[in-house]
Amino acid sequence: MSTSQQLVRPGVGSGLADTIRARFLLKLLVRKELKVRYRGSVLGLLWSYVKPGVQFIVFYLALGVFLGLNKGTENYAVYLFSGIILINFFTEALGNAARSIVGNGSLIKKIYLPRELFPVASVWVSGVHFFPQLLVLIVACVFSGWHPSLLQLAAAVAGFVVVALLATGLGLFFGAVNVYFRDFENIVDLLLMVVTWASPVLYVWTMVRNTLGAGFFAVYQANPITIAVEIFHYAFWYPTTSGTAELPPQLMTLWLPVGLVVSLIVTVIGQFTFRRLEGRFAQEL
């Protein structure tokens, strides 16, 4: 019997820091998700390589060659794919994180554990699914004559971090409010539908600048996802082209820091909201 321990208030966590302290449990939760998803399939995780591979070939043939979008944008399939995998990651991460608290309700109302683990695990699972898509992209890039600089590779990592942070922050926020009003699941779905079109994934950023004018374009450009997509273009697609395409000005010097700051602010707001609401999770679920 140790009497050296202090009397403490039970059920008081320290937020996202707890997910680092409980990283073994986090790892098991992520592994559980992956195991459950691929249970009963012979190829298992291999499917997540096949799907984006086929997707890329379809883009290449249908959009690039048949529709002739290659003529407007050099290596259009690579351009499109480098943006899409980032959007896929964000969509899956936020969609699942927003549902994660309600989905794990039966556990949350019986046992105390740091509840931030659930949205964070959702983001990690999506990160695992992102990896095969990234590999397909890299293979496609190499075949298209990719020659990236170290700066471009570092930029890609930073772009990914921007999106992961944003997904975590929004996931914490919507995961928590969804406990009180299940309508927020639908609001998230709406948001995710708009996300693809609010960033230059299918089109080119110059079209937006030419239509919106400087003021509104700055707003458009402040979206962390837009910044991250443009960074992915800069890291993966741009080094496969002849280098004549126009890149967004000050992408690395101004917009990357802006993206990081916006994502961080969203994470802080998400964490704050989550902490305010989590005390009543067990009774509301």
């Binding site: 321990q5 208030r9 059920g11 073994f24 556990l107 046992i111 105390y112 299940r182 009543r280």
Partner: protein, 244 residues
């Protein structure tokens, strides 16, 4: 001996809300807040309870008297509206065994997952794994998916993980009725062993004959209030008197 659990004047109100939709809440607001969107009642009303380390306490009361709610406050799953709860050392709730189990995972994966959920480290689970399997009597089925287990096997494994978490304070909520007869006896023996080892126990059970074997002290809850706190035989007597 130091205090293990200190519950001071806690109250908890629950809202009898029937809606989880924004639309209904808006309609309610527009109609001038008529109706009972937020009718409240006290599940716990000014409850105080101090448990010393090594004590075994029985929580008694009718259905809905607030026993599970009180245990959830001690484990930290819920926080009180007013008053405070303090605990010393790790608290483990055997509140609903198998809460963290996943049907599509094997017994082995579930032992790791559930062990980690209940606060064990990777090292601790590895060390205790064989002992967990042995106690559960699952044997070679440990690598079978849990969905193929009988409900008895499932509960045995879940209980076994829970008792191997080795916390200072155990909260036991109506789980002594798990599994078949022989395993029930084994569970009860294990709980008594924990009590003898000097663990702090708070036990909820409907088996009024069993309770005095484990606990000396009884706390009787009535509609969220402490109606009696003293010798367990007396508490049981009062409960029986009320029932008839």
């Amino acid at each position: 001996m130091a205090t293990a659990i200190e519950v001071s004047n806690i109250s908890k109100q629950f809202v009898l809300r029937h809606t989880r939709s924004l639309k209904e809440a808006l309609v309610w607001l527009l109609r001038g807040r008529k109706g009972d969107l937020s009718q409240k009642f006290y599940a716990l009303n000014d409850v105080s309870l101090t448990v010393e380390q090594g004590e075994s306490v029985a929580l008694l009361g009718f259905n809905g008297s607030g026993k599970s709610t009180l245990l959830k406050h001690i484990s930290g799953v819920m926080t009180p509206d007013s008053g405070s709860v303090l605990t010393r050392g790790r608290v483990a709730g055997l509140i609903e065994v198998g809460a963290g189990f996943h049907h599509d995972l094997t017994g082995r994966d579930n032992v790791y997952l559930n062990g980690a959920i209940l606060g064990m480290s990777e090292q601790q689970i590895k060390e205790r794994f064989d002992s967990i399997v042995e106690f559960s009597e699952i044997g070679e089925f440990i690598d079978t998916e849990v969905k193929f287990y009988s409900s008895g096997m499932y509960l045995r494994l879940a209980f076994s993980v829970a008792v191997h978490t080795d916390p200072e304070v155990f909260l036991v909520d109506e789980i002594l009725a798990v599994g078949d007869e022989p395993f029930q006896r084994k569970c009860i023996a294990k709980i008594k062993e924990l009590a003898a080892e000097g663990k702090t126990l708070v036990v909820v059970s409907h088996d009024l004959n069993l309770i005095p074997e484990i606990c000396e002290r009884g706390v009787l809850l009535e509609k969220g209030r402490v109606a009696f706190d003293g010798r367990v035989e007396e508490a049981i007597h009062m409960l029986r008197a009320e029932r008839s």
